[in-house]
């Protein structure tokens, strides 16, 4: 960093004041004046907006990015003892004198033409632009007001803007209020097709059923949308959808990550997270169990399973690793992840030195590490080169999702048994037809009961091993100078939360524990937890956070565009006792959520970046959703929640670089092949190429925001990955048969019907005539154009495992498979409307 290279230059306000007050004073003043005059030339507009300086959004981030590395919280690299992150009696020291540029050394230093004095120093590459200098000018002139960093302040519950139509909820009022101040307005509502596809994908990760969409359109009730949303929130698919994001945050994966990257036993933790979302477990309990389930509820298997969180970090048993070094790595990993998940703070740099931008010291880092010092890591060093490896302590449990299903299945079995035991209606009826119906119904019940009983048997018997936390005598956590694990001269750190955020009572008799840490996260004056969470949830539904940076809520992050709305949402979640479902419900019911996402050049120009939410965004769908949606469209998706992870088709040899042991990959045969993306085996070192192509993270570290790319690899994946080819070919065959095609014939009408039906399963809306025309031309080209004919093309129909009987005529099936492939590849298919 620049700090070291700055040591030899004249520095700081003291020196600069001397300069200013001696001979060069006038000279400096003159320069400053020139700059001001220079700006003044074109600053009529600037004058008008003089008062509009936003410290949180504009000034603080600027100071942070350009100045704090040398004038910030890190005492060891602080130059001239000047801090610009807090007002350290600036005026008295002459650094920044409110309303007086002439007396403000900082102003002199950022405007002087003397390269030796000019700040920021040129070699940092952090120079200020004219408009940035002007911003600081306006800030100083208008009084150089500062505020504590927004994210660390106690939660306020701001007043809801009142002069709006009654039916508008708080979210829309805040949004419209901000728009109104800027002469902007919301977009018209999205049409029903777009809205239903949007909200169903957002809440379940699956497309809506065309029949349900039709019923919705025909439904005259005013609250049909509310009912639709409630149905989605009640669906077990909701948990599967929401859990994926949690897994990105806590870097959940099926393998150890380092070196041999062996599988580790963790599936029940994955299932518990999904189950917890479905149950709408309050977020405070959800968090507490993951951080300290073994301490707060040791007899509850679910609370123990939840502590798998403390074990899913990357571990290694590579030959020749040094215990002390790896304990230090694991310790630091836990602190980083805890900080990012719950505090939205990047604590990682404080492993070696005080944070450069945020109020976290190196002591804070090791104090947090000390909370985790009782987690038994000894088993990681004795891992085996087997699949799975051993990572004691492990327990053997039933998956929480299996329990969930068992409850449902037992209920169903009971009602079937009751029904079968009931008096037969035939005894009181002489109608022969009723007799036949009755017999048929009984047969159906009996066969269903047999299936259910077999399933109950299977689920009752199966158990899975899972890693858990077990508290042992806490080991000493020392503050490591420069993060060097071999240096044992540093002081021993006691568990404590970052001191800038809070103080916890403790004494020698009682060491603070992980349970105390979890409790503190949800205490009233600790508002960071809810702000971080609601902003991330908001981004799930609106495409972007109110504060743009979902990973960093510190000085280098971004202040919210709608601070009052964010505050209100954060407070509201707490008022809902940290239950996510009611909170999410009101977000997706808002008009802001429901507005159209169609770009409009002139409107978008007035709201660049859509900061003021003048329409919905069109985010590309996430990797797992793209997979699930294709399988659902083909009716291939298998609803098999929980248990061992599943293995989709994968290019041969992809695991060739893994060793200890060498890895063979066997794609699942049968139903496992078609399970949802959330259950796909997450091999950290070699994540499935389809997931990787669509930006799913390797989950080595916390990912608060997946990157979104648009690449040729994505095109190649959708065109050629057997998962998508099979989905297209099976969907094509099934749609044609459903439309009435036989093995001998598929009529033009049947093809059109199949096309419409397939399109709507994926894209929900009906196709326009032109779109149908393009697809029918594609179809007919493959049917009739000799140049598109080749005997080998029939091989396409053998991709994958599902082979339906009956099927349509081969030639028509092939041509229609091309139609299905085209639809699965559309931009619209991979984009949320």
């Amino acid at each position: 960093m620049p700090a070291s290279s700055l040591r030899n230059r004249p520095q700081g306000p003291a020196l600069s004041r001397r300069l200013v007050s001696c001979v060069p004073w006038r000279w400096g003043l003159l320069l400053a004046t020139i700059v001001i005059l220079g700006n003044a030339a074109g600053s009529a507009l600037a004058q008008e907006t003089e008062s509009g300086v936003d410290y949180q959004r504009e000034v603080r981030p600027l100071l942070s990015d350009r100045c704090l590395a040398c004038h910030g919280p890190d005492a060891n690299t602080r130059e001239a003892d000047l801090r610009l992150d807090v007002n350290q009696d600036w005026a008295e020291r002459g650094a920044i004198v409110p309303e007086s540029l002439d007396e403000s050394d900082v102003w002199f230093r950022i405007t002087t033409n003397d390269p030796d004095l000019r700040m920021p120093p040129s070699e940092t590459g952090k120079g200020l632009s004219d408009s940035e200098i002007d911003l600081l000018r306006r800030w100083i002139v208008s009084g150089a007001e500062t505020e504590a960093h927004w994210a660390y302040q106690p939660l306020a519950r701001p007043a809801i803007p009142s002069d709006f139509d009654e039916r508008l909820g708080p979210i829309d009022r805040f949004v419209r209020d901000a728009q109104r101040q800027r002469g902007l307005s919301s977009a018209p509502p999205a049409d029903d097709y777009a809205l239903l596809r949007r909200v169903t994908l957002d809440l379940t990760g699956l497309p809506p059923e065309p029949a349900a969409v039709e019923a919705y359109l025909a439904d005259p009730r005013d609250d049909k949308y509310e009912r639709w949303v409630d149905g989605l929130l009640d669906s077990p698919s909701y948990g599967e959808r929401m859990a994926s994001y949690w897994f990105d945050l806590v870097r959940f994966a099926d393998t150890v990550g380092y070196h041999g990257d062996q599988d580790h036993p963790i599936a029940p933790y994955r299932d518990w997270v999904i189950h917890a979302f479905n149950e709408d477990m309050p977020f405070d309990q959800f968090s507490t169990w993951q951080l300290a389930g073994d301490l707060v509820d040791p007899d509850n298997p679910h609370a123990l399973i939840a502590t798998g969180y403390l074990r899913v970090l990357q571990t290694s048993h590579e030959g020749g690793i040094q215990r002390g070094e790896y304990l230090a790595k694991y310790s630091a990993d836990r602190v980083r992840n805890f900080g990012e998940v719950w505090l939205g703070s990047t604590l990682g740099c404080a492993e070696c030195h005080d944070h450069k931008y945020d109020p976290f010291t190196q002591d804070d880092f090791y104090s947090i590490a000390a909370f985790f010092a009782d987690v038994d890591d000894s088993g990681t060093f004795t891992g085996t080169n087997t699949l799975p490896t051993r990572r004691e302590p492990e327990i053997e449990v039933r998956s929480p999702l299996d329990e969930e299903r068992l409850t449902r299945l037992r209920q169903e079995a009971e009602s079937l048994t009751t029904a079968l035991a009931g008096p037969s209606p035939t005894e009181s009826s002489n109608a022969p037809d009723a007799n036949v119906d009755e017999a048929q119904a009984r047969a159906a019940w009996e066969s269903r009961l047999t299936v259910i009983e077999a399933e109950i048997d299977r689920l009752e018997q199966r158990r899975f091993r899972t890693m858990v936390a077990r508290a042992v005598e806490p080991r000493d956590i020392r503050v490591l100078a420069r993060g060097n694990w071999m240096d044992d001269t540093g002081p021993i750190a006691s568990p404590h939360v970052p001191r800038s955020l809070g103080r916890l009572e403790s004494n020698e008799d009682r060491r603070l524990s992980r349970a105390d840490l979890a409790t503190w996260l949800f205490t009233e004056n600790q508002a960071l937890t809810s702000r971080v969470l609601v902003n991330r949830l908001w981004a799930r539904f609106l495409g972007r956070g109110l504060a743009d940076n979902l990973g960093d809520y510190g000085a280098q992050g971004s202040a919210p565009t709608h601070p009052e709305l964010l505050e209100w949402l954060a407070a509201d979640l707490i008022e809902h006792d940290w239950r996510l479902k009611p909170w999410i419900r009101q977000v997706v019911l808002s008009e802001t959520y429901r507005q159209s996402s169609t770009p409009d050049a002139s409107r978008d120009a007035a709201d660049p970046g859509l900061r003021w939410l003048t329409r919905q965004r069109r985010p590309r769908l996430e990797a797992e959703v793209i997979r699930d949606q294709a399988l659902a469209t083909a009716r291939l998706l298998v609803d098999e929640p929980g248990g061992a992870s599943c293995r989709p088709y994968q290019p041969a040899g992809y695991y060739v670089h893994l060793n200890f042991p060498p890895r063979a990959y066997y794609a699942d045969q049968g139903p496992g092949q078609y399970r949802r993306g959330v259950y796909v085996h997450w091999q950290r070192q070699f994540l499935h190429p389809m997931l990787r192509a669509f930006d799913a993270p390797m989950r080595e570290e916390c990912t608060a925001q997946r990157s979104v790319s648009n690449t040729p690899s994505q095109a190649l994946t959708l065109l050629n990955d057997p998962t998508f080819v099979e989905a297209a070919r099976v969907a094509a065959g099934r749609e044609l048969v459903a439309a009435g095609a036989t093995e001998e014939q598929a009529t033009e009408q049947q093809v059109e019907q199949a096309l419409e039906s397939l399109w709507r399963k994926l894209l929900v809306r009906p196709p326009h005539p032109r779109e149908k025309q393009v697809l029918l031309e594609l179809y007919h080209d493959f049917l009739t154009n000799e140049q598109l004919d080749s005997p080998e093309l029939a091989e396409l129909l053998s991709v994958g495992q599902v082979h339906d009987e009956p099927h349509p005529p081969l030639r028509e099936w092939l041509a229609f498979t091309m139609v299905a492939r085209a639809i699965l590849n559309l931009d619209e298919a991979v984009t949320r409307p």
């Binding site: 590579e318 030959g319 040899g653 070699f686 990157s707 790319s709 648009n710 690899s713 093309l793 931009d827």
Partner: protein, 484 residues
């Protein structure tokens, strides 16, 4: 060309529709439409398939335009290759002085007696320069006047996985971009129909150490900068082959249909992302042809094949070296070839013979071949592993071996902007520490970037609130002394 411009859309649409007139016409029309206009490249909406240099880059005139990193994974022994330590031979079998090893991190030799192991091969001065190279690297010895050996490298990590991560990303913490990603991010790529950063891993030799795709990850940078793995068997790139039974013409017809529908959609929903997707489908289709061609060596003269010692892309390091040349010729910015047989805790002599047989000749041939083609002057060749090996004996096989060593190891550089026939830096007489002119991995990175025209202090991205750079937060230096 503005993708949101209705005029453009209409032309795109009309041309795509021409496909009804006959096979491929639409395809040709559409691809030429997208390719013919240079403006399409520059346009924001139509993201150029090969990303161009960042504004302001290169920071200074580059000496090298592209890189091939011959990555000898496992940690080749410097004492058997480039760092001649007669003192070790003299003290062979003696205890290592405790004063040297005390407080030092030790890998597999933790808790064992530490004894000195002498060099297992003879060293000789080579070429006009007299650069010392051992007998086990005969082909490399022949190019001694072209290479610069750095003997004083050192790193932070003593186990394979984290040491690889340091060599590739500058830190052992996961989730940082790799060297190849940084370079393609900064400089873009001249490859038309290929990724800018390609990785290959060869088979052969001893039971290999694993290598993680983290080593070529773009983490923190956009996904398109991540290293793309080319395979010797099966598909050269994942999903680059059309599904079974589907010909190029049939796939083209399908892509035309997709493009036409996307164009229709864009009339209604004028989102530049759709235009980008249209462009990416074109690139993807072109890759379906260009990549298999690239992997087909039949256009190479027999003399070249003989020199590398290969006939086809067969998974060998030799074949990958030839492939690397073909990639570099086509404008690929960064090629990384892993060979994973270099972890010799025991049986050092037989394993070094295996490694030499597999890697020595092809590496030297690549340097000579590049030179013959006029490419060596602006291609940087880098040879080395994640760390080196101990001067101490380890007895894990039937013959002596050496443990991991991070305090000193050797690598060599050749080509673009590097002086040949020299060595730089020295270890102490027992070869334990980098004693003279030590070069940390960050210094190596700073030097590589410098040769490519990049000031390592100024190539940064926002990560974790920091302006993160490949060379980390501590000061590092360009090793000026080795620059030509």
């Amino acid at each position: 060309m503005n993708p949101a411009d209705p005029q453009w859309l209409r032309s795109l649409h009309r041309r795509a529709f021409l496909s009804r007139a006959g096979l491929g016409l639409g395809g040709i029309a559409l691809s030429s439409l997208l390719a013919q206009s240079g403006a399409a490249r520059a346009d924001e909406g139509l993201a150029p398939p090969s990303p161009q240099a960042l504004p302001g880059l290169p920071h200074h005139a580059p000496k090298a335009k592209r890189v091939v990193f011959l990555y000898m994974a496992g940690g080749p022994s410097q004492f058997e290759t480039f760092d001649h330590k007669p003192k070790l031979r003299e003290l062979d079998g003696q205890p290592m002085p405790a004063s040297v090893t005390e407080g030092q991190p030790i890998a597999q030799l933790q808790g064992q007696d530490l004894r000195i192991l002498g060099p297992q091969f003879r060293f000789r001065p080579r070429g006009d320069s007299g650069l010392e190279v051992s007998d086990i690297m005969p082909a490399t010895a022949e190019i001694a006047d072209k290479i610069c050996v750095i003997k004083s490298l050192h790193t932070d990590q003593i186990n394979h996985d984290p040491a690889h991560t340091v060599m590739n990303t500058g830190t052992s913490i996961s989730g940082r971009p790799s060297l190849g990603s940084w370079v393609t991010y900064g400089l873009g790529s001249d490859a038309e129909n290929l990724p800018g950063f390609v990785v290959m891993t060869s088979q052969g030799g001893r039971n290999p150490q694993p290598i993680s795709s983290r080593q070529w990850s773009a983490a923190g940078l956009p996904g398109r900068f991540q290293g793309v793995e080319f395979y010797s068997r099966g598909e050269p790139i994942h999903y680059v082959r059309s599904p079974q039974g589907v010909t190029a013409a049939q796939q083209r017809r399908l892509v035309d249909g997709i493009q036409a529908l996307n164009a229709i959609r864009m009339e209604e929903v004028p989102d530049p992302e759709i235009a980008t997707r249209i462009a990416q489908y074109e690139l993807a289709f072109r890759m379906q042809t260009s990549v298999p061609e690239l992997a087909d060596f039949s256009d190479e003269p027999q003399t070249v094949l003989d020199e590398y010692g290969v006939n086809e892309l067969d998974g060998s390091f030799a074949a990958n070296c030839l492939m690397a040349r073909r990639l570099l010729e086509r404008g690929v910015r960064f090629v990384q070839l892993y060979h994973r047989g270099w972890d010799h805790h025991g049986d050092l002599v037989p394993y070094m013979e295996v490694c030499s047989r597999l890697c020595d000749g092809p590496g030297a041939t690549l340097v000579k071949d590049l030179e013959r083609r006029g490419l060596l002057k602006d291609t940087l060749v880098v040879w080395g592993g994640e760390f080196g090996r101990t001067p101490m004996f380890q007895g894990k096989g039937s013959q002596p071996g050496r443990d991991h060593h991070m305090a000193a190891f050797s690598m060599w550089l050749a080509g673009g902007g590097v002086r040949g026939g020299m060595s730089y830096g020295e270890t102490d007489e027992l070869g334990y520490h980098a004693a003279v002119d030590p070069v940390h991995v960050h210094d190596l990175h700073a030097t590589l970037l410098h040769l490519l025209g990049i000031d390592h202090r100024r190539l940064t991205i926002k990560l974790q609130g920091l302006d993160w750079r490949l060379t980390g937060v501590e000061p590092s230096r360009v090793v000026e002394e080795i620059l030509a």
